[in-house]
């Protein structure tokens, strides 16, 4: 391999991209989607975009430890051959080659005529330690001696110097010269530092620092960039679990999850929690929900987040017009589907959701607690972390599952190897994803279920089909008991469940549901329009066991007292001890319009207000007195009517002036608008050059003309203004603006056009 500088200028990355077949280019754009938006004009632009720092960072974030360490080796070696890279990286040759190919495909490295090289921006973007594939070696010097020479020099130095070198290598490869002379021969060297400088094992720099060149570091590390092998993928800690158990546990969790989502949304449809001012769900509401669902708060947070991600829950407005969390119309469709399909759709939503559900309840850097459903509780890494966790699980063979305790940390280690950059945050996300997948029933007992596999492959239908047989099948009956409970020994069919919800209260939930009949719950059914016979009929029809006598008795007992007290509207009541007098009034032909109704022998009610009723009753020959609210008779003397003097808020003159001003400003705005419209057809706006605009404005100042200027405002939108220019100086136009009827300044560079108005 030639180490001399290329005589001919190297072909560019753009050149290389130009020569790539379409598929390879497509592959690149797929792996680095940020290069494609907005669409680059040509390969040159594509290449320059690929070399920007932010794009490189993003590409590096997607590399595994081996790939990063191959890239690092490329940076250390400078321009080099494929074989040399393979020898430099402490890893299996085949894997290194594959990693190298991937780097080329990602355009993070390219094949210059002088050999492979990393993109120029890569070096400064490589950060972190060996765990992130970064060796910490400096690039080899351009005039590097061959390996033999370096090794020979290393062997010739004293042990003290060697130890110093090792220390420098382990601590960043940089030191200060101190009192050491910078130009010495081996013979003159008196200290280890000077000895190393003399042997060109440390290179002094102008700034007074000493650098350990890459080739020396390589030699120290035995010819490789790292001492540790870089291709050891962490093993998952596993244990064996029967497939049947995995499927059952997963399906059990899936069923519970779907049921809870439905429960939350059913509940919130009636009593929605408020949306916090900053968005999100209040801590108290979450706590209440957790208690209601018999889960802890993080689990409740996951449920609402997934419901929201699946589009089943969204912000809405309650009866008072306040913002609240409500089930969406999609929920109604969803609720009608089979459990398996419902599960598949929420699980899919979770898999793709960017929500950082695991942060709920934790505090951010400012010490504020994260609320569930908070708008900014999301991150692009979340879906990736979930997929990586599940994909790692998918590599296990059936019957193998993550070991209890050690399983999750091993999975996290695996993912961290695959994506070493930003490991802390990612590790948390992966650990959370494992827990969430178990809660959602994608995994059971530490292994991916069949349905989970299908979902990961993107096949929602297959996922639903796979989980279906493992879900508890719906039952259509309950067991009624003498303690007034009804036990549904499984998930109830929707219709039965809804009716039962009406007539009984839920006492315990889970695989089965325990309902309790109480006078209150039975009354609720009556309120909803059921009759006692219907309630009897319903409980008889859904019960597989005879209806216990106390339950029948309860229903009858509630029906006995139901409606004992009647409530209605009336404007006035008439009461008299003389029943005959009331009967006479009721049947009086002229009383028909009074809306009288008898509610007791001695009481009539009327739909007519008292003040109208009173004179009419007198006309009919009755002699009524008015009763006050406390039952005492109110003397029917007519009140003298008086109005309250209206309070004057403003003097009439001020009000008039204000009104006048408002009208004037409206008119001037309208006139200004008119003039813009008028001038437009005759003189279409032409973008004048800045100097032209200045000239035109100066002209208008001189002439005292009114002009229409095209002006781009602070929001970036351009519009026409009708102004009378007053002066132009310092890049500012001062002018009287017709629309606001005020003097304003305009930045000249924002004026796109100037034209005079007729």
């Amino acid at each position: 391999m030639s180490r001399t500088q290329q005589a001919t200028p190297p072909r560019t990355l753009a050149d290389q991209l130009r020569r790539w077949p379409d598929e390879r280019l497509l592959g690149l754009l797929r792996s680095r989607p940020d290069l494609a938006t907005p669409a680059p004009h040509d390969s040159a632009q594509l290449a320059s975009r690929a070399a920007t720092r932010s794009s490189i960072q993003r590409a590096l974030d997607g590399l595994d430890r081996l790939e990063l360490s191959v890239l690092d080796a490329l940076v250390v070696a400078g321009q080099t051959s494929r074989d040399e890279i393979v020898s430099l990286v402490h890893a299996d040759a085949g894997r290194t080659r594959r990693a190298l190919d991937r780097l080329l495909d990602l355009a993070l490295a390219w094949e210059a005529p002088g050999g492979l090289r990393a993109l120029s921006g890569v070096a400064e973007c490589l950060r972190g330690g060996v765990a992130s594939g970064v060796s910490g070696l400096r690039p080899a010097s351009t005039d590097r001696p061959d390996d033999e020479t370096v090794r020979a020099r290393l062997e010739s130095v004293s042990p003290a110097a060697r130890a110093l070198l090792e220390h420098l290598d382990a601590h960043g490869g940089e030191g200060t010269t101190g009192s050491a002379r910078r130009t010495v021969t081996p013979a003159e060297a008196t200290t280890p530092v000077e000895e190393l400088i003399a042997h060109r094992l440390l290179l002094p720099r102008e700034s007074g620092t000493l650098l350990l060149p890459g080739e020396v570091g390589l030699a120290l590390r035995g010819g490789r960039t790292t001492r540790e092998p870089q291709d050891v993928v962490p093993e998952l800690a596993t244990t064996s679990r029967p497939v049947e158990l995995v499927e059952r546990t997963a399906a059990g969790a899936a069923f519970e999850f779907v049921r809870r989502v439905e429960l939350v949304l059913d509940h919130w449809g009636l009593a929605p929690p408020a949306v916090l001012r900053g968005g999100g769900l209040g801590v108290r509401d979450l706590r209440l929900l957790a208690r209601e669902l018999h889960v802890d708060e993080p689990a409740a947070g996951l449920i609402v987040e997934v419901a929201s991600a699946a589009g089943l829950l969204a912000e809405g407005v309650d009866a008072e017009g306040d913002a609240c969390w409500l089930p969406t119309d999609t929920f109604d469709v969803w609720a009608g589907q089979a459990t398996a399909e419902r599960w598949a759709s929420v699980a899919r939503a979770w898999l793709d959701s960017t929500r950082l559900t695991s942060l709920i309840g934790t505090r951010d850097a400012q010490g504020r607690a994260w609320n569930a459903l908070a708008p900014d509780l999301s991150g692009v890494l979340a879906p990736e972390a979930r997929r990586m966790a599940l994909e790692a699980l998918a590599t296990l063979s059936p019957g193998e599952a993550l070991a209890t305790g050690t399983g999750t940390p091993s999975l996290v280690a695996r993912v961290v190897w695959q994506r070493p950059r930003r490991p802390g945050f990612r590790a948390d996300l992966v650990a959370a994803a494992v827990d969430e997948a178990a809660a959602l029933g994608l995994t059971g007992a530490g292994a991916l279920s069949e349905a989970g596999r299908a979902l990961l492959a993107g096949d929602v239908g297959a996922a639903a089909a796979a989980i279906g047989p493992h879900l508890p099948s719906p039952v259509d009956h309950v067991l009624l008991q003498a303690d007034l409970t009804a036990v549904a020994p499984g998930p109830l069919e929707t219709e039965v469940a809804r009716s039962l919800h009406l007539v009984a209260d839920v006492e315990s939930r889970g695989g089965a549901t325990v309902y309790r009949f109480t006078p209150g719950s039975v009354r609720r059914a009556f309120d909803a329009g059921w009759s006692a016979a219907e309630v009897h009929e319903f409980v008889t029809s859904v019960s597989r066991t005879p209806v216990p006598q106390p339950l029948s008795y309860l229903v009858d007992d509630v029906s006995r007292t139901f409606g004992t007290v009647r409530v209605g509207h009336a404007e006035a009541f008439l009461r008299a001890d003389d029943e005959a007098a009331l009967t006479e009034l009721l049947h009086h032909p002229k009383a028909a319009s009074l809306g009288l109704r008898r509610i007791a022998p001695t009481v009539l009610v009327s739909t007519t207000p008292v003040d109208l009723l009173l004179p009419r009753l007198r006309e009919l020959g009755a002699a009524p007195v008015v009763e006050a609210a406390d039952g005492t008779v109110r003397v029917a003397r007519r009140d003298l009517l008086r109005a309250r003097r209206p309070r004057e808020r403003r003097t009439p003159a001020a009000a008039a002036a204000r009104e006048e001003a408002t009208v004037t400003s409206v008119v001037s705005a309208v006139r200004a608008g008119d003039r813009v419209a008028d001038s437009r057809p005759q003189a279409p706006a032409t973008t004048t050059t800045p100097s032209g605009a200045l000239a035109a404005l100066r002209e208008a100042v001189e002439a005292g003309d009114t002009v229409v200027i095209g002006y781009v405002d602070n929001q970036g939108s351009s519009g026409d203004r009708v102004v009378d220019p007053i002066r132009v100086e310092g890049g500012q136009l001062t002018a009287h603006d017709h629309r606001s009827d005020d003097t304003r300044t305009f930045a000249v560079h924002r004026i796109t056009s100037v034209r005079t108005v007729g």
Partner: protein, 546 residues
């Protein structure tokens, strides 16, 4: 999907479908660790509680067994969180052990150092512990053995007590099985207790708890102190012991308000033990009067708080608790667990009933409508007066009369809360009445007469609730009670659950005033009975034969 009889709910209740073919096996598997909460006709409800799980640990079951039982019998997938919780809770028991150290006496030993560190830092443990012997061992003041156990239970790290017991003063006691023999469950209960050292035996009323006590005394063969609820009960214990064991009346002493005898077997009442004179418990010396080898607590669920405190100092003696229910209205189940000991034996009522030891019962609630005038009086009464008004309605008396007439040939008890009402009833029914002011001697005479059949109708107040054996009662009519206490209900029903000749059914009537708090309280009672699996009917008083 499994077709098991058990459904595990997320709120830690277990539903057992009774009619399932595998229900009996499943019940056996879960009974050691789950508390039976309700047993109505079709689906029994068990609950997993920390105390229940620790009781299971104390009986030698481990988390693996519990999880396995749940997984084996559950119809649906068991919530993972629940399994984790079970394992965690059970793992807490026994990390700390109380042991006897040859040099330092009582020590607390831990197999888990962080746990020991945690409890040693807890405030409520301060002052009970002495020097640290090594990383895992710390000296405990001998006097604090009970208090420490109580404190550790509250901290969630219940200690296992291996410190052993003193043998006490030996005294030969043997069962005299002439013409009768221990029922299998009675001897099982006594065995379980003896092997466990100390603890509680849970048996329904009428299942022969006294005999379990006698069997335990025979095991101990040592001087015994028996604590019972009241004097009548004390006399019953004495008679029973004389009849069932080799003990003679001279060997058994009564220590009560009227008599203060201390003999090898002494029966004391809770009341005398908790009597205070000038702020001090004046009869505490009884506890040290002899070197007791065994202490028996009758009706543990009624044990008053001062006795708990005294018990804390008696940790070196074997303690046997006898009760029909571990449910305490005051929620002090944890103190029973830590001071007397874990549950050693338990048998569901219905099982024992099915074995023919207790009578089946027919429970009927009779609803009485208040007449107009009383309804208005009720509606306008002060809240605290309402119950009394409703419970004592005059209409109930007529209903009671009709019920008594209906069962005229059967021994009947009429039970009530309010003395005026009882007096009125007694007069009308021409029956003797037993109330608080009735002298013990008179009470004894009446109970004896009732037992022998001389008197077939008794009107009793709540003094008869506990520990008075009236096996011949076939009908009980309850006219008022103390605000629907579940425990009271169990006791009253217990009066009737003694085995009947010819397997006759016992009748249990509750007369309540419709649409009042009386009916609301009755609802609690009804629920309790139905939960215990008794058939329960509600009828209107008008439907009764006149």
């Amino acid at each position: 999907m499994n077709d098991g009889p058990l459904i595990v709910q997320s709120d830690k209740t277990l539903l057992l479908e009774v009619d399932h073919p595998a229900a009996a096996d499943c019940r056996k598997a879960i009974a050691p660790f789950a508390e039976l909460e309700r047993s109505p006709e079709h689906v029994h409800t068990y609950r997993l509680t920390p105390l229940g799980l620790w009781n299971a640990r104390a009986a030698g079951h481990d988390a693996e067994q519990v999880v396995d039982a749940l997984l084996t019998w559950s119809r649906y997938a068991v919530p993972h969180a629940l399994l984790v919780d079970v394992a965690e809770t059970m793992g807490r028991y026994g990390r700390l052990r109380l042991e006897k150290h040859p040099v330092h006496g009582l020590v607390l030993v831990s197999s888990d150092r962080p746990v020991l560190e945690e409890v040693l830092r807890a405030k409520r443990v301060q002052g009970m512990i002495g020097d640290r012997l090594d990383d895992d061992t710390v000296v405990v003041h001998a006097s604090e053995r009970g208090n420490l156990k109580q404190a550790l239970l509250k901290l969630g790290w219940p200690a296992e007590d291996f410190a052993g017991y003193v043998d006490g003063e030996a005294h030969p006691i043997a069962l005299a099985e002439d013409g009768w023999s221990l029922r299998p469950y009675q001897s099982e209960a006594a065995e379980s207790f003896w092997h466990g050292g100390s603890g509680v035996v849970v048996l329904p009323c009428g299942a022969g708890k006294t005999i379990v006590g006698a069997a335990a005394m025979a095991h101990a063969a040592a001087t015994t102190l028996i604590l019972v609820t009241n004097t009548v009960s004390a006399r019953q214990w004495k008679d029973e012991l004389v009849r069932r064991t080799s003990l003679t009346p001279e060997e058994i002493g009564e220590y009560s308000g009227s008599v203060k005898e201390i003999r090898p077997v002494t029966i004391a009442t809770y009341q005398v033990m908790t009597t205070r004179r000038k702020g001090v418990y004046s009869h505490l010396e009884l506890l040290d009067a002899r070197d007791w080898g065994l202490i028996v607590y009758d009706e543990v669920h009624l044990l008053p708080a001062p006795i708990f405190r005294m018990t804390a100092d008696l940790q070196a003696r074997r303690r046997l608790g006898l009760t029909a229910t571990l449910v305490r209205e005051d929620g002090r189940e944890g103190e029973v667990f830590s001071l007397i000991g874990p549950k050693r034996y338990d048998a569901p009522w219905k099982d024992i009933e099915a074995q023919g030891w207790i009578a089946p019962a027919d429970c009927v609630e009779v609803r009485v409508s208040l007449p107009e005038g009383e309804r208005i009086a009720y509606a306008t009464a002060e809240p605290e007066e309402r119950y009394r008004l409703a419970a004592c309605t005059h209409h109930k008396i007529d209903v009671v009369r009709r019920l008594v007439a209906q069962h005229s040939s059967q021994p009947t008890l009429v039970i009530g809360q309010y003395i005026d009402q009882l007096d009125e009833l007694a007069e009308l029914l021409d029956a003797p009445v037993i109330k608080g002011e009735t002298p013990v001697k008179e009470r004894q005479r009446l109970f004896d007469a009732f037992r022998s059949g001389e008197v077939s109708l008794l009107v009793v107040s709540k003094v008869a609730n506990f520990s008075i054996d009236l096996p011949s009662a076939e009908v009980a009519i309850q006219v008022s009670g103390s605000f629907g206490s579940r425990q009271e209900e169990a006791q009253r029903l217990g009066r009737l659950l003694r085995p009947k000749t010819e397997g006759r059914t016992a009748h249990f009537y509750t007369v309540v005033a419709r649409d009042t708090v009386d009916a609301d309280f009755a609802q609690n009672r009804q629920r309790f009975l139905a939960e215990q699996g008794y058939a329960y009917r509600i009828i209107d008083s008008d439907d009764l034969p006149v």
